[in-house]
Symmetry: C2
Subunit: 147 residues, 2 copies
C-alpha cells in the first residue's frame, strides 16, 4: 500500500515537558494554557478560524517509537486493543486533541486544554463542529452564520 | 522541520465513487453503510473496540493534489481559510470522520455515516469519547465500565 509523507504545519507549545506530565484519559486539564506557532507560509489558512471556540488538532507523537497492538492504559488494570485506546504507540503515531481557541495573533494561536508535550509537531487544524455538552458553549464561526 | 511517513492500516469502502458523491459539510448521511478492511497484521489492535458506538477515523484525501489556503466550501458563497473548513486541499491531506460502528467480523469493521470516497486509505482508528447530543446515545466500551 502507498505511503504518505506529511510535513508539520507548526509546533505546539505546552507546559508539559515529558510524556509523564501530560494529562491522560478522556478529559482535559481545563484552563491550562498553550499556544501553536504556525509556519508563516500557512497564515492565510487561518482566515475566519477565530470564530470557532474549539479546534481539532491532529499531531504527531514524535517521541513514540514503534507500536504495540495491545495497550495498557494508565490507571487501568486491563489491556485493550490499541485502536480502543489513545495510546501513543500506534501503527501511525497520530494524536488528536480538541482544544479551546482563545485568540489568534498573526500566526500564533493561543489555546487551552492541551494534552501533548511541548514541541509537538502539528499536522492539521480543523474546526470543531459537533456541540457536545461536555465542552459547554461551542461556537462554530462562519458555519453558524449560515443557519 | 522533520517529515513523517505514514502507512495505511486499512481501506475504507463506501458507496461514494467520486468526490462529488460524498456528503459535504458538518452532517452525515445517517444510516449509509460502509466497511473498513483492516490489514490482517493489525487484528489484535481491535480488542475491545466493539464496545464503542462511534469511532474517529483518520484517513487520507488520497485523490487530493496540492493545497489551497483559501477554500470555497460547497453551498457557501464566501471563502474561508482552509483550517476553518473541511476542504480536502489541505497542507496535509488528512481527513477526519466520526462514524457509527455496527459490528466487527475478523478484520472487517461495519460502519455507518461515511463521507469519504470508496477506497480511501485509513491511517488510524480512535474511540470516540465525547458524548455529543447530536449523535444520540454514545457507548464508550471499556471506559464506561470503569466508572
Amino acid at each position: 500500500m502507498d505511503r504518505f509523507t506529511l510535513k508539520p504545519i507548526g509546533i505546539i507549545h505546552t507546559p508539559y515537558k515529558t510524556t509523564e506530565d501530560c494529562p491522560k484519559g478522556d478529559y482535559h486539564n481545563k484552563g491550562v494554557k498553550a499556544y501553536i506557532e504556525l509556519q508563516p507560509e500557512f497564515k492565510d489558512g487561518l482566515m475566519d478560524l477565530d470564530g470557532f471556540s474549539h479546534l481539532i488538532l491532529i499531531w504527531v507523537f514524535h517521541e513514540s517509537e514503534g507500536y504495540e497492538l495491545i495497550a495498557s492504559p494508565p490507571h487501568d488494570e486491563e489491556q485493550h486493543g490499541v485502536f480502543a485506546t489513545r495510546s501513543p504507540k500506534r501503527p501511525n503515531p497520530i494524536g488528536l486533541t480538541v482544544v479551546k481557541l482563545t485568540r489568534i495573533e498573526g500566526t500564533t494561536l493561543y489555546i487551552e486544554d492541551p494534552d501533548m508535550i511541548d514541541g509537538t509537531p502539528l499536522l492539521d487544524i480543523k474546526p470543531y463542529l459537533l456541540p457536545p455538552e461536555t465542552l459547554g458553549e461551542v461556537k462554530r464561526g462562519w458555519l453558524d452564520k449560515k443557519k
